[in-house]
Amino acid sequence: MTNAERPHRSLDALGVVALVARRELLTRLRSKVFLITTGIAALLVVAASLLATSISTDEGTDATIGVPAGAPTLPDQIAAVGASLGLNLDTEEVAGIEDGRAGVRDGDLDAFVMPDGERLSVIVESDLDPELESAFNVLAASTVLDREITDLGGDPAAVNRAISQAAVNLETLEDPRFDVERLILGMIAGILIYGSLLMHGQALAQGVVEEKSSRVIELLLSTIRPWQLMAGKVLGIGTLGLIQIAVIAGAGVISAVATDALTISFGSIAGTAAWLIVWYIVGFFGYALVLAAVSALVSRQEDINAVLTPVLMLIISGFVIGISVLPSDPDSAVIRVMSLIPTFAPMLMPMRLAIGGVPAWEALLALGLALAMIPLLIWVSGRVYRNAIMRTGSRMKLRDAFRAAS
């Protein structure tokens, strides 16, 4: 039989990598754990932006005030006083004082107000809310004031308009650099990249060990080269993580825009999401190479923690330092330096970038340094992985794996 009759296609090296990546991606994409985690994370991000909406733009009513019929200016006055105090006061016209009392007793009204000569009478159920009390005092004062103005031959409406337009001229010596919303955005970015690196980094490591412990590795390596397997696994799981982080970040951006939750611009939200994805790619690539190499040193899932812990500690410490220092001190010098170091940059830089105020040179330097590490990591990790992947039995020393001729 000649080769031409055989069903073997030519399969180039990258074709093999693509096949391996495809398997990693598809088997994991269908896993329930992955779907549930992604769904929950996306929901949390959406919930966070909805929560922000209800806090920042409160359109609800703070109190409903009953007013008697025949006091036509009172509702407007109450609304105006409420607005000046930051309260949203609704008025409801009732027939008379008895209906007002009934409304307050039933809880339909928070208070009933009626002009009583020079004073205002207020009926409440048991005690008057301090905010409402201030409002009513201001209302009483302005009622008196209006009458005095009228007596003096003035126009109360014109005076009120003039008062409401009076405002101080504010001059700030420094722009506010860090606002709360951007800080929260930074924390969310940090949590996403941290969770993603941790989750997919460990999944990669377990996959490497699974191939060793199930011994399928020998069958695979009789057909493909170790670097193809390693590259395929890193790319496949990396793509999976990318899809996940894009879905979550996308859900966040869309819900923030749709609900108008944030006062910061769409541009900076999208910028945060874009930087997040760039740093996820760089961070995952770097850490995945290291994790694949160290997990190749062991043959059983039970031994995996011993080799993973030192690497995971780098990810965890970067995140923990960032999340505990940045909210109180967004401009911390320690964080500025750490966020340039490739081991911590993937967690810290996206947080800083989301918070804002990062000089362009710092952002580019951090990225450049991290990218410069990748070829070195490919060389070292590829060598360790190749030397260690076929060794079964007890844990291999990193140094031996680096040195050993295959």
Partner: protein, 309 residues
């Protein structure tokens, strides 16, 4: 005249393979070759180097010295993709469905998705695991996992088969299926190398065998060739024959009584008809048989022989 030239069939050659692990010599200039359409049995004690040799052929291990050639040329990655391999350490992805896993492995060997699917259908059918295609491998019994493992070795219609202990752990029915498949691949023109400790099976199936000891080949050839020059045996059941009845006959190397029968070890100068005559002269003869040494005996002899120093 060119027309008369014989086109040599391609051979898989292992040429002076050597491999050490630290101070342990796993292979010491081990050489043998297998022709297309030949079934080659690779036997040796545990740790003799069989698995190491096979791993080197597949490129899973690198030899310290020596070469592996197919059809006269150094074996390449694309040649390796056309080898069907069954590792001694069986292994498949435990949490992957049988069908998907086989398709994946077939595609890693270069098959198109359509060809891979077709081949998976055919082999799972043939090996009796078609009904389990949608089950995770870990849900299968050990016997069925072995069948899937064999399917994994055959899924890409390999041109060469290298199987490490393919019969271990198989039930008798599966052993028959496996033997049949090996024979069939071999008849289709593939060189087939397999290792086994079941020497009766090797003797029955193989065209040639190689016996390896301490990493070196100590005997290679057809079983008949290996028997050449070795003593054979005559078993004679003559109940009335007195002790020592055969003494003095020509070519008797040794004699012993076993369960009332006489066992004579003879060399090539012995005349069995003369022995029969002598036996008949003592009374009735219920059984007279010539026994050739089995592969097991040849193996014992080969691995226990003094090592030339």
């Amino acid at each position: 005249m060119r027309a008369w030239a014989i086109v040599p069939s391609p051979r898989l050659e292992l040429d002076s393979l050597s491999k050490r692990y630290g101070d342990v010599v796993a292979l010491d200039e081990c050489s043998f070759d297998v022709g297309a359409g030949e079934l080659f049995g690779f036997v040796g004690s545990n740790g003799a180097g069989k698995t190491t040799a096979m791993r080197i052929v597949l490129g899973v291990l690198e030899a310290d010295a020596g070469h592996v050639r197919w059809d006269g040329a150094a074996i390449t990655e694309s040649t390796r993709r056309r080898i069907g391999y069954m590792p001694e350490e069986r292994g498949l992805y435990p949490r992957m469905k049988v069908g998907e896993q086989l398709v994946y492995l077939a595609r890693l060997h270069g098959l198109s998705p359509a060809a891979a699917a077709k081949s998976v259908d055919a082999w799972t059918e043939r090996l009796g695991v078609a009904a389990r295609r949608d089950d995770d491998v870990q849900k299968l019994s050990l016997g069925n996992q072995q069948r899937v493992q064999l399917a994994a070795a055959l899924i890409h219609d390999p041109e060469i088969l290298v199987l490490d202990e393919p019969f271990s752990g198989l039930d008798p029915v599966a052993v028959d299926v496996m033997s049949e498949v090996l024979r069939e691949r071999c008849d289709a023109g593939a060189p087939v190398v397999f290792s086994s400790h079941q020497l009766d099976l090797v003797e029955r199936l193989c065209d040639r065998v190689g016996i390896v000891r301490d990493g070196a080949m100590v005997a290679v050839g057809a079983v008949d060739e290996l028997r050449t020059g070795k003593t054979e045996r005559l078993i004679i059941d003559a109940p009335q024959a007195p002790d020592g009845w055969a003494d003095g006959l020509h070519g008797i190397v040794n004699s012993a009584r076993r369960n009332g029968a006489t066992m004579l070890e003879i060399d090539s100068t012995a005349d069995d008809q003369q022995v029969l005559q002598a036996a008949l002269s003592t009374g009735p003869v219920h059984r007279f048989a010539r026994e050739r040494p089995s592969l097991t005996e040849l193996f014992r002899h080969a691995v226990s022989a003094e090592q030339p120093s």
